[in-house]
Symmetry: C3
Subunit: 206 residues, 3 copies
């Protein structure tokens, strides 16, 4: 069976949604929220970045609301985290980090793609790729009344922006869209994972 | 005098706006904000849910900005809370809770109505009903830098979602729109009030 | 060389963007964020108010994303604050306050202008002028998980609203648009500066 690029992107997008929903819901369990709080936090983490992107692009209603697959997948992921949170919490943190990096890479790529489709400039497309990647986690942290992790530490948003920029650069160099997306996603994923392994940090001052 | 359904919904919407504005402003007084902070918090609590809904639906400018009745009613409510806060704070908490449940029911119904008018799917209409009901209080809590109450405890958003779902179900069963709205609103109101009286809680884990 | 009013407004808007970016980034440095956190906080402080205004007006994509001059200026300002933050922090607080008041005046005026261009009512135009002025700082405070300063103290949002209202009043009185904007901006700036010097506060209760 042959998958069209659009269809593949769509499936990858849903995979990222599932992953981020599980992650957001697990955080909610750890913070002693009730069942609905868990569902809301899972949903917001999973689709928050895409909703911000679509609102900024004027593409309303956002695809996460127009297409019921997104809420369905997000609530499934959050329910899984609620039902199996004992097991979810036992997953080694390195694997959680790599799954999270996968979700980040995916959303960075799909956000950039969506922005380019709507004729945004490269600079704006990179920013929207980054926002799509980190927006959900930022909403999660705001709802928990804590400073968003993305502002404080690690190469996280940086990885999303680097992946997005790489993807645009590849297109400019004449590489096919699908490969550009794959290369950009790989750069984001690897930069994130390697930065955790090597304890890379951005400077906080000169 | 005979009221059309639209006009009745509109009046109920304004009543909910007044109520939530008083509530938001009273919270602001209790948190020692100044006069403008009180007005802003009252306004945000009263119209925040509707503004989020309209932005997500792409119905911009939001009705709370297009129609000056909404800001006027919101600021009136907030001013009343500022002027009479000594008396407002003496209102028995059970009555405050019931008024709040009334506002919640109202906004859940009007949010669902608005989403259905714009051809959203039932699942999305339920979510938008819930967002309209709890959005204002969530913005209030975010501005006060505390975890939104809706995430933490009680059957609150759950009541809004249940009312919204009931309303849609009634319509599917062929019940007239006005009665469907009344039944949905009653379910939301009663579920909220009874859950407080009986100390019902959603499970936080299995 | 003769500047058209539109071009002048545009240049003043960019000046305000630069100023608020430096201020937001300096706050980020003081809160020990890393380089990307500094850039994000600078950017959000500088263009946040305008983005909220544009989203509420339905003018999407917001001008801060459509026109790359805005992000470029915002990131330049944030980078300057990062590179020279030792010097930036030594600027006397009175001068910082006056520069900030200048940015506030500017954004209040440009937000009001934009709302009037889109046929909003005077009440809504005043509110959008205020939101444009204080929105960026509010997002900055939310991202740092603290109650927005604008809610808590001082004549800050009040100055923005007063400047915006004055500008609209002047237009009604038949004063030319450019002069109305200048008068409104001056009222905002002076009210803010004098209120700090004289320790004016809004009442927190009667």
């Amino acid at each position: 069976m042959q998958l069209s690029p659009t269809r593949m992107l769509y499936l990858v997008d849903l995979a990222g949604t599932l992953l981020f929903a599980i992650e957001g819901a697990t955080t909610a369990v750890a913070n002693h929220l009730d069942l609905l709080g868990i569902l809301i936090l899972g949903f917001a983490t999973a689709v928050g970045g895409g909703i911000i992107r679509d609102v900024l692009l004027g593409a309303t209603p956002p695809s996460a609301l127009r297409n019921w697959h997104y809420p369905a997948v997000a609530f499934t992921g959050a329910s899984l985290a609620f039902l199996f949170h004992t097991y979810v919490q036992e997953i080694p943190s390195q694997i959680v980090m790599m799954l999270d990096a996968g979700g980040l890479a995916l959303f960075a790529v799909s956000g950039t793609e969506e922005a380019l489709l709507r004729k945004m400039s490269p600079l704006v497309a990179i920013m929207l790729g980054g926002i799509t990647g980190v927006g959900g986690g930022t909403i999660r942290d705001l709802l928990l009344a804590r400073t968003p992790r993305v502002l404080q530490a690690d190469i996280y948003a940086t990885a999303a922006l680097a992946g997005s920029a790489t993807m645009i650069l590849c297109r400019r160099l004449g590489i096919k869209d699908t490969y550009s997306a794959l290369i950009g996603g790989a750069v984001c994923f690897l930069l994130r994972v390697v930065s955790v392994w090597c304890h890379w940090q951005l400077p906080a001052h000169l």
